[in-house]
Subunit: 286 residues, 2 copies
């Protein structure tokens, strides 16, 4: 028996939005620590990994580990019917072959219940080594999204160079060459500021999302942690798909070592979305 309730549907909606372009089906692996999902994209190039820790739910109950095979296409359709501040409860019996999903509106007495059919999915659970990366770049997630968008007009690949001075993103193609440079410590306004109030922090999920329209954007500085300079080339198409996760949080961190897959991480309260992507081996690949 699994039963998990989250105060607001918005995080779940954003998580689904973040991965639905990459994944069509996936197993949700649940245990007492929370819910995890991991899957390669359809062309087996990128790995997506989602964690929703049990702390993010109240209550959370999972008597014994279970693996729930979900069609993200179906789940997307269902989750889109929820309001952002609806309460979401998901429930699964030990024996059933369907997943119960319930949305309760806060202001009215509207209750929507879905019973989503499940799938049998071969879970190719890949162990991901807990690598130490040579370079970790953290920046505003909006900035990351924009860099992907801007460079996409020039080419299909981006070379990321990280050094002490900063991080450079460069692309080239028919129309010429583009290079975008961020200096360490450089601030960048995000789209979503949320002000930390001192009083009400803890377990209460902050559903006050004041998306500070104009003016009061929080400045999110670029931070670089570097053991060794790296230079890696990636497919912009995938990096752009990763950027769909940007609404989840202010920051994204890119973890890189030469010739090792990139880890692109979006962390949020009580969970994260991580993407892994192998670098292009050489520039002639394109």
């Amino acid at each position: 028996m699994l039963e998990a309730r989250m105060q607001s549907a918005s995080t779940l909606k954003k998580v689904i939005d973040a991965v639905r372009d990459l994944i069509t089906d996936a197993n949700f692996d649940c245990n007492e620590e929370g819910i995890r999902m991991q899957a390669m994209d359809n062309s087996h190039v990128a790995l997506s990994s989602v964690e929703l820790r049990s702390d993010g739910f109240a209550p959370y109950r999972c008597d014994r580990p279970m693996s729930i095979g979900v069609s993200l296409v179906s789940l997307t359709k269902i989750i889109k019917t929820a309001d952002n501040n609806d309460t979401v409860t998901i429930k699964k019996d030990d024996d059933g072959d369907s997943l119960g999903i319930m949305f309760e509106s806060s202001k009215s007495d509207r209750v929507a219940e879905y019973d989503m059919k499940l799938m049998d999915i071969d879970s190719e659970h890949l162990g991901i080594p807990d690598t130490q990366y040579d370079a970790v770049v953290s920046m505003a997630s909006g900035e990351y999204a924009r860099i992907c968008r801007d460079l996409s007009v020039v080419g299909e690949s981006v070379r990321i160079d990280v050094s002490k001075e900063g991080v450079g993103f460069s692309a080239d193609g028919e129309l010429g060459v583009a290079k975008l440079t961020l200096k360490q410590g450089a601030g960048s306004a995000t789209g979503a500021g949320d002000d930390d109030d001192d009083d009400d922090e803890d377990s209460k999920p902050n559903k006050k999302k004041r998306k500070a329209g104009s003016g009061e954007d929080k400045v999110v500085p670029v931070e670089i942690r570097l053991n060794q300079s790296v230079s890696l080339t990636f497919s912009l198409k995938y990096l752009t798909m990763f950027a769909k996760a940007a609404p989840l949080c202010d920051r994204v961190s890119l973890h890189m070592s030469n010739e090792v897959p990139l880890l692109c991480e979006f962390g949020f309260d009580d969970g994260h979305v991580r993407f892994y992507l192998a670098p292009k081996l050489s520039e002639d690949d394109e």
Copy 2:
């Protein structure tokens, strides 16, 4: 060596937007006075002419005149990645075959550098005689755009009649006849004019949604300078494309003499965009 820096990208963005529907490639002719661009549209019907005077740049440096062959398609893609208030610097070495374009964000240390490949373009530089026109009509550029839009619903050509009383725009087609009259001195709020004058036809389709902007539109009176009445017919398709320049400035002026190409001018600080279009010879042409 050319180096020119403008404080804000917005003007450049608007200039490019104004001509990109008409022109795909053009030479940017640079000298110490500034940058000029002149080109016929692809079907060799309309002439576009852009001037960016050196005063609009700081600093501006152009050691010797040069002609830079630019693909507006590429330039459009690049310029779209700039924020409106980014600082723009364009640079070209005397010998290179590419144009350096740099956007610097004001708030952060984000720097985007592009190196755009150039083209060899046969510059058919047409001398434009500095004509004295018989009639010059100046009006709100938003009003101009709206007239083009409204009349396009009715027909493909517009006849413009200028007399002492005012200026009339008329079109006809399948669904009937439309005539729009502006009187001299009549004020018009930018964007939403409905000056109901006596000549108003009821056949005018009313699907105008007046998006009167922020309410505080400046009133821009219609001004007519007239030596002799004129009556000319133009393709609405082209006049509508000219209207893309409207964001550049509050006013547009239409310079006309019978049987001579129209000059449609959008002037702004330190520059202008001008369009020339030959009149249709007779109304049976359509």
